[in-house]
Symmetry: C2
């Protein structure tokens, strides 16, 4: 049987990228332009494009750069299949010279070189992220694919960094946006680059396998609502953590439920039997990983009581329950109440394990709600799960990267446009980042500590000065 | 050599879907729940989930349903590889019974049945789009993948339909969002489902190949700015459409440029030589497909004059130029000016071909700007290209579909939640759509003509009434 070691996962990852990004995944006009270059004998003229965005995303002062490794993999494997070329023959105008298709079949990126900011770098508007040099027709063909690989990866990575800044360094962040992403690859890309941007965990199992990201998750409401009676719990016994004979776990939990209800002044008649059965059943299956979602019916009347009863029974058998998940309502208020109950249980029943229970909150968390939650001293949420607002980047769903021609045959090229902000800065650039003597950036653009200056070099001989140098790199955590 | 016929493209499409959506592309908690069901001996209990969204998207009155064919393909091929199972063994808690992994290796969807609204149907909030019946553990495992396949496909399809309604039936719509989508698959999904939603064309070559969508595109600004002098034009001759000896095309165009400048009172000295060279070169390569982007420097001082000169020369050689693309500035105002110049050229030079030239507009078009553009009688834009706002669904980047358990062993299941709007309607549903005697819907929810009524059937014996019936289907165009 094949084992899933690092090299196997790496190979699976590379296959996945290459299958998702065949060279035909580009705009048709790249081919019509490539043909026109070729027809004019200009296809091998040395040309330089640069990839950048015009405004920092989310109304903020910075972005992170991501997608580079996928770009390099794409370039290394760039080649058209016979089927690709036949398709192009069928859609390009009838007069297209047949020799052009032979030329396409021979193409690769061996003559292309790329200078880039390191993956995960803090970057700013209008600074080149990628500089792509090579034969004019080839570097033209690459435009859409490179933009597609950088645009969303950088955007979602930056969004994750903003969530991380809003959450503060202590709280753990979990990405769980697969179901709300732009299709399968949107979800996979989100899991990958939100981890780079500062998240701790993902719910996405494939992302765990391909990228080695820590995965997490226990149960959805459907698990809870699938149970309606204690008769559905099976097996009904649990062996204590330290060993010994199997204990009647239902009976044990029922006893604890009575004591918990008495302690909290709750009515056992309001506890949902199905919810208790679901928690019992899950705890029997995973006694070391008990972290149920407790809002399927009512947190205070049922979910929290069921949790405490099962968790106390687990503690009695020397297991360590993990905690609870809240997925609706006022998360802050509920987390305080949940924590209060945990403390009361410990006080009453001497279960120090209840002091280390965690509270996970997941309910349409946005950057703003996370920042508000972080400002409030009065909440007890340890882990925040974020889906929709993280992966769709609701506040600004596109970074708007562009890929512009800046040089041909050593001569700077420029676009003017009817919109002044769409004009380009001609020629290759050296990028400087000015640091203060004690480290932080001189002027306030990133966390009030950054400056970036983009210097245009129009001297064609200055190519070797065009290395992109960035002196600061935001760590993933 | 392999040919690219329909069956080959179909097979390529299926491979593409299956590679993008392996069964591991789901949330980890599906596996922890599946194990707990299995451990309790409940994994084969008959269960029913339904997939729906809670609110119509974009503040509107309807959505389209899309993604069904990918869902069915996913279900037909659902199986875990040995590597998948080994990965799961490495991330599930240590105590997980080894027999569960053998069970996973045997799993498929042969016991799963799906009832669904037809792909492309008009649908409404809280109405089931998919009803998935089968063994509890299996239909649980499918949740995230099905949501991922339906959520974005339906959202972008609905967005396209709104752009279509805003544009009116006459204007042609082109999707060109690949570079701004959520990665490669976001772009491919967008191309596919915006076509179903009412778009006419895509720029995405791979979407053209896989889905047979008409592709279009001619040139970007980089093509124009890559030229700086007429010396770069090669070949410099063009054979007339009707045959005959090659004509010195540069000389011919220069003559026309002088006449056009005289007609319009413009200065030839302001015309960019590089832009003229780019248009000349493109026209020589593609004399039957001449549609340049004319705003690389200045539409009125250079781009439009260059276009007219080259197009008049093409007409003289009996070719039919296609038109122009505007990509910046005030598209409406410019389109009027461009059309006026076309008419003046025809009047002065008797070129009836200039009466059928088209004007393409592409500049951050949103649904709102398209609606405004459509209201204005005073514009001459024939084709609108839409990218970012279409594929990222800026106004609402997630449809928010959910997948909820509604029945187990014939008994309705319900979730209550701390948020009343997150509560579910238990049991399987029959869906009715009430029509007026003359066809339109009775009550105004879709284009002021729709009603939908969702009837809950809690009788466990009523399963055969659960067929989802919709009586109206918005055509793709």
């Amino acid at each position: 049987m094949a084992t899933c070691d690092g090299s196997e996962a790496r190979a699976a990852l590379e296959r996945s990228v290459l299958r998702r990004v065949p060279p035909l995944l580009t705009d048709l006009y790249q081919f019509t332009m490539a043909y026109a270059y070729w027809r004019a004998g200009r296809h091998n003229e040395p040309a330089v494009f640069e990839l950048f965005f015009r405004d920092n995303p989310f109304g903020g002062g910075f972005s992170l750069f991501a997608g580079l490794s996928d770009c390099l993999l794409f370039l290394q494997n760039f080649a058209f299949s016979d089927d690709d070329v036949e398709y192009l023959r069928s859609v390009l105008p009838a007069g297209t010279d047949a020799a052009f298709f032979s030329y396409l079949k021979e193409l690769d990126c061996s003559a292309v070189s790329v200078s880039a900011v390191p993956e995960g770098s803090v970057v700013f508007a209008r600074v080149p992220l990628l500089e792509v040099c090579g034969p004019l027709a080839v570097v033209q063909l690459l435009e859409t694919s490179l933009l597609c690989l950088v645009n969303y990866a950088s955007l979602v990575c930056s969004n994750a960094a903003r969530f991380r800044l809003a959450a503060g360094p202590r709280r753990r962040l979990m990405e769980m946006g697969l179901r709300r992403a732009q299709g399968p690859d949107g979800g996979l890309t989100a899991s990958r680059y939100t981890y780079i941007g500062g998240f701790d965990l993902t719910s996405n199992a494939l992302a765990g396998r391909l990228f080695g990201i820590p995965v997490a998750g226990t149960m959805a409401h459907s698990y809870v609502t699938s149970f309606s009676s204690l008769e559905e719990v099976w097996p009904q016994t649990l062996v204590p953590c330290g060993g010994g004979g199997p204990i009647d776990f239902i009976c044990l939990v029922k006893g604890w439920l009575g004591r918990v209800c008495q302690l909290l002044g709750s009515k056992t008649s309001l506890v949902r039997e199905g919810e208790l059965a679901a928690f019992l059943s899950y705890a029997i299956a995973y006694p070391q990983n008990f972290l149920p979602v407790i809002d399927s019916y009512s947190v205070s009347c049922s979910g929290l009581l069921c949790f405490c009863a099962v968790a106390l029974a687990l503690c009695e058998l020397q297991y360590q329950p993990l905690g609870v998940r809240l997925d609706s309502g006022d998360l802050c208020r509920q987390s305080l109440e949940v924590r209060r109950v945990f403390k009361e249980c410990n006080k009453q029943f001497s279960v120090p394990q209840f002091e280390s229970l965690i509270i996970v909150g997941t309910n349409s968390i946005s950057e703003q709600s996370l920042a508000e939650l972080n400002k409030k001293v009065s909440n007890e949420i340890d882990v925040v799960g974020v889906g929709t607002h993280l992966v769709t980047c609701t506040r600004q769903p596109s970074l708007g990267c562009v890929y512009k021609l800046i040089e041909v045959r050593g001569r700077p090229r420029m676009k003017m446009s009817e919109d002044p902000e769409k004009s380009t800065l001609p020629g290759r650039k050296s990028v400087y980042r000015l640091l203060d003597t004690d480290g932080p950036y001189l002027l306030p653009t990133f966390q009030s500590k950054c400056i970036n200056i983009c210097v245009c070099i129009c001297d064609p001989g200055a190519q070797n000065q065009s290395e992109l140098r960035f002196m600061h790199h935001l760590k993933a955590e």
